[in-house]
């Protein structure tokens, strides 16, 4: 019987020849992602239990991101604990403030993500890295503590679901619109416990940045992990981003006779720009059905859409115009921040009346840098629009692509981005 990418990677990590969906395996971990919210408690747990071990200081990547720079005294305490631990243990890849960035944008950019590996992180959107044909999933603090100490975790191999993205995207339609359409179609628990394997022609034209937007949101359909097969686009990205010391990797592909629990087909050519309305990422509607709704804020950033490509798309629309509502631009990493300066994007945003911040998760999770008051509405390039996600439980979040968020910033209401694109 054939195996999927997910099963092959888990088999490799468990030292077995085969793994089938539903089997429990104990897998070796290749990379652990640690940030400022879930890692400090994991460190405290290890201390409380008298466990002093770190399984491998070169396989742990630490970056404060959620509340960095510290937004208040309590978050400063979290950072202090994280910092003290990372120094004491001699964690090799510790991104201190100034080099720290939103985890899921930072790790691929800095060359920590390789195909064929098992990657876990104390964050639900750790599934992002599956875009590189890796097995990657989010865990809580206790699992994180166990992984840090032992370098191993048990997993139930998930059944796989194949999502075929047919056709090519029309102008003004992006990978964000595709993933909102997928979640709307299958529901926010449509992939519960499952691996979502994305294939199809539409992926060919997508950059790694665009693909990461798709795998980033598999958790919003309940998925355990998401995968995209390795191809020349993957290789070209890795050639630029992997350091020489870790430039080798193993590529796994799904067999032709691999088992899929279901197959979902999406006609990408027929898609319009999408907006996920409050309060679920699966509440997607085409822009033609919701254009005109007044907004109070536009937020462009996060691990979903805070990469340089997103900033370029937003800047193209905003250039030479004035924004009509509060518009907050948050580059996900210092490298992106610098690129924005070098390419003149920061200036475009400044001239238009936007706020440009330092890299942080910020308001994506209602931390700081753009919190909403009761009754306010925000069009946002982030991944969750739950009740209270960006501030007041009485505020509303509308998820969309950077182009839609930028066009909506210009008009102050949900706007079809296509009229601003040449």
């Amino acid at each position: 019987m054939g195996m999927t990418i997910t099963e092959k990677i888990l088999a490799r990590a468990a030292g077995r020849d085969t793994v089938a969906a539903g089997e429990l395996v104990s897998a070796g971990i290749d990379v652990i992602m640690c940030h400022d919210v879930t890692t400090p408690p994991a460190i405290s747990m290890l201390k409380e239990h008298g466990i002093d071990r770190v399984f491998d200081t070169s396989k742990i990547v630490v970056t404060p991101d959620h509340f960095q720079p510290a937004k208040d005294i309590k978050s400063a305490e979290l950072h202090k604990r994280l910092d003290a631990w990372a120094r004491e243990k001699g964690i090799e890849h510790y991104y201190k403030i100034g080099r720290a960035g939103v985890c899921h944008a930072l790790l691929p950019e800095q060359g920590h993500i390789r195909p064929g590996e098992v990657i876990v992180g104390g964050d639900s959107h750790t599934c992002t890295y599956g875009a590189f044909a890796a097995f990657s999933t989010g865990i809580g603090s206790t699992d994180l503590a166990a992984a840090i100490a032992t370098g191993e975790l048990w997993f139930k191999a998930p059944a796989s679901m194949k999502i075929v993205l047919n056709g090519s995207l029309a102008k003004g339609v992006y990978s964000k619109d595709v993933i909102i359409a997928v979640i709307t179609k299958i529901g926010v628990d449509g992939a519960l416990y499952k691996a979502m394997e994305f294939t199809g022609d539409a992926l060919k034209d997508m950059t790694m940045e665009a693909r990461m937007t798709i795998t980033n949101m598999v958790i919003e359909a309940g998925g355990k992990n998401g995968t995209i097969a390795f191809d020349e686009v993957t290789k070209a990205y890795l050639d630029v981003h992997l350091k020489d010391s870790n430039a080798d990797y193993t590529v796994f592909e799904s067999d032709a006779d691999a088992v899929y629990e279901s197959v979902v087909e999406i006609d990408c050519a027929a898609l319009e720009p999408m907006v996920a309305k409050p309060h679920l990422p699966g509440n997607g509607a085409p822009i033609s059905e919701c254009a005109g709704l007044e907004m109070d804020q536009s937020y462009i950033g996060s691990c979903t859409n805070g990469r340089i490509e997103d900033m370029r798309i937003a800047a193209e629309i905003i250039k030479g115009r004035q924004v009509a509502i509060r518009t907050i631009i948050v580059p996900a990493t210092p490298v992106i921040w610098k690129q924005m300066m070098d390419e003149g994007l920061s200036e475009i945003f400044y001239e238009a009346g936007c706020v440009v911040s330092a890299p942080t998760c910020g308001a994506c999770l209602g931390g700081f840098m753009g919190i909403l008051a009761a009754g306010e509405r925000c069009v946002s390039t982030t991944n969750r629009n739950f009740v209270g996600r960006m501030g007041s439980p009485k505020s509303e979040v509308y998820l969309a692509s950077p182009a839609t968020a930028a066009a909506s910033a210009v008009e102050g209401k949900l706007t079809d981005c296509r009229k601003y694109l040449k």
């Binding site: 879930t38 466990i51 809580g140 519960l192 999770l365 209602g366 931390g367």
Partner: protein, 159 residues
């Protein structure tokens, strides 16, 4: 005896169980004071030690924050009963030594305020108010073992 607090809502997410604005701390006592705040501001006031929460499908979806489980434990909630759970939340519960019960149509079988008693090993909820015994599939043995040990780290240490 445990009382049931029933929320007839699907997709109760971890942002509702513990809003992100409180994630600047991992102090369990403090988290507990905000437990379920964005869903029901009165929850902490009416929850007594050992009470259970009953919800709809995909309970605990969203963020991987274990703070959600700690808030429930801090508020002395005894268990959560729902038809299905989001996987990270489910795993976090077991890792923290906290019981989760999968029960189809849970919110139809148990009413708000019902007095219940749970036998986790046998997989039976005794609904005293309605005079009914409700069966559920017990957690796998290894998960019950982890819970009985007081969580994954205690369990690892014991081994």
């Amino acid at each position: 005896m445990a009382k049931a607090h029933v929320y007839k809502r699907d997709y109760i997410n971890t942002d509702e169980i513990i809003p992100a604005r409180y994630l600047n701390t991992d102090d369990v006592a403090e988290l507990a004071t905000h437990c379920m705040e964005d869903l029901d501001t009165g929850f902490v006031g009416k929850c007594s030690a050992g009470d259970v929460i009953v919800g709809g499908v995909d309970f605990g979806c969203g963020s991987s924050r274990e703070h959600a489980v700690w808030a429930l434990q801090g508020a002395k909630v005894g268990a959560v009963i729902a038809p299905t759970f989001a996987r990270i939340f489910y795993r976090n519960c077991i890792n923290c030594g906290f019981y989760v019960i999968e029960l189809e149509n849970a919110a139809e079988k148990i009413n708000d305020g019902d007095e219940i008693e749970i036998d986790y090993g046998k997989g039976v909820i005794n609904n005293k108010t309605q005079g009914k015994a409700i069966e559920f599939r017990p957690l796998p043995d290894f998960a019950i073992e982890i819970i009985k040990d007081g969580g994954l780290l205690e369990h690892i240490k014991k081994k």
